[in-house]
Amino acid sequence: MGRLSVNLCGIELENPVIPASGTFGFGYEFAELYDINVLGTFSFKGTTREPRFGNPTPRIAECTAGMINAVGLQNPGVEKVLTEELPKLKACFRKPVMANVSGFSVEDYAYTVQKLDAEEQIGWFEVNVSCPNVHGGGMSFGTSPEAAAQVTAAVRGVTKKPVLVKLSPNVTDIVPIAKACEAAGADGVSLINTLLGMRIDLKTKRPVIANVMGGFSGPAILPVALRMVYQTAKAVNIPVVGMGGVGTAEDVIEMMLAGASAVEVGAANLTDPFACPKIIEALPKTMDRYGIKNLKDIIGGAFHG
């Protein structure tokens, strides 16, 4: 394998760059722009048991160095994902893909994962216990170690594929939650999901987002994400996938030094559809510049000293 390659829960990735769920659809829109097989993998659109329209619009607000979204997990539901989306994905992507799954009860998660499990192309499950957009939904699982562990165990029981739990940053201490997931059988954790935020329109004096609050992402959140990846990676013995504000090859390296085994790129795909291939292309030169031979050697490099 090349100098960019990493291993994520037993599966080799050609490089650590992974478009994050909710910013990359099911891949085929981006496949019109570039060969998406250059990616390490990608995490597909958060899938739920039933179809969801999501929240009312406006769902998007701009911020300094970032954006807020309150899409609310719009997706066609697991049945249509299986019959309509995955065949299209298969036609343009030949690597194992990461299946992002959300739910509103422990049973929902297990049901959706079980449905998807037979799909050969799914390499990993990424279980979203942290989406801040859905009232009474995902948020509650990700903010309690017990609830996060329950979801992890339920999903663990229905698949032999690697299970990554995607964690919420909207908690006092992310470490006990990550540890609870590890103890419940998670093969890895990914973090951070978006930070709960809001904007107010000065003309209307009302929140910009119809749902009032939404998830804040973009370059502004990188330092928060790095801190949480660092804290988590030091505390657990399973791989951590780092994300939050990553937009450059330097950011990827910084995430890996903080302890990430692979790195997801989210909002950057929305402002520059070519963000990921640009990052991948820039990685070797950037590694040279900082004297890095192989990316896998730098994971957690910032722990010492």
């Binding site: 019109e32 979204n69 719009q74 929305l270």
Partner: protein
């Protein structure tokens, strides 16, 4: 969709808050009713702007300053080279026009209809045009449409110019199909009062502009659709107006 650097040739005000930007660059494949997504220095998200004019190598955008981003766009100078995503959205289906199409534009919804008019004329049909504004000072592009040879009716809500009232107060006797763009209340009224089939271009707050983020979804008669990808142009019968 294409990712293209353009060079600004001019960026001039048409009214107190409406600007016309002409840009040189690769315009191949841009259809009437489509939009571009403009990167504005200093702003995280791009600004989606409908295509007002498009010739080989020359793009015209007419936009309204509604916030800091479009205000910054208005300050961009000739020689600046903004990064654009072009060819976004579906565009108007001109094959439906018939022999007497009608273009209905309200305020900053007028620009995409100019490129549409030009393309209809290339197809040998001359559209009738209704342009609606709040007041006389806000009128733009009336003369541009007249110069194309279109019959133009201008309405103003306050009666300061043309027909007093709304675009729906000026509907002609006969038209075969309509193409509309404007504020939501206008589009709703157009759907209710037009006798023919037609297509309407919607506006929504967007994240990416190319179908990735699902930020601009609406419910339609055929299920959820993304304004940026399956739209911004929707058929009259596809739109739901329950709110």
């Amino acid at each position: 969709m294409k990712n293209v650097k353009f060079m600004i040739q001019s960026n001039l005000s048409l009214t107190a808050s409406v600007y016309e930007m002409r840009l040189a660059g690769d315009t191949a494949g841009i259809l009437p009713g489509q939009f571009v997504n403009v990167q504005v220095p200093g702003f995280y998200l791009r600004r989606p702007i409908s295509v007002c004019g498009c010739e080989e190598g020359l793009l015209t955008l007419v936009y309204k300053t509604v916030g800091h981003g479009t205000e910054a766009m208005a300050r961009m100078q000739p020689g600046d080279t903004p990064d654009l995503l072009t060819g976004l959205g579906n565009g108007y289906d001109l094959s439906k026009a018939g022999d007497a199409p009608l273009l209905i534009g309200g305020g900053v919804g007028v620009p995409p209809l100019y490129y549409t008019a030009k393309k209809l004329l290339e197809r040998g049909v001359t559209p009738a045009v209704i342009l609606g504004f709040n007041t006389k000072d806000e009128i733009f592009y009336e003369n541009e449409f007249r110069a194309l040879g279109c019959g133009v009716t201008v309405t103003t809500a306050d009666g300061s110019y043309g027909v007093k009232g709304f675009v729906t107060d000026a509907l002609p006797e006969r038209y075969t199909y309509f193409y509309a763009c404007g504020p939501k209340p206008m589009l709703k009224a157009v759907c209710a009062k037009t006798a023919s089939g037609g297509e309407l271009s919607l506006e929504e707050r967007m994240g990416c502009g190319f179908g990735a983020c699902m930020g601009c979804s609406i419910q339609t008669a055929n299920g959820p659709k993304r304004v940026c990808k399956e739209g911004p142009v929707f058929k009259k019968e596809d739109l739901l107006w329950e709110d």
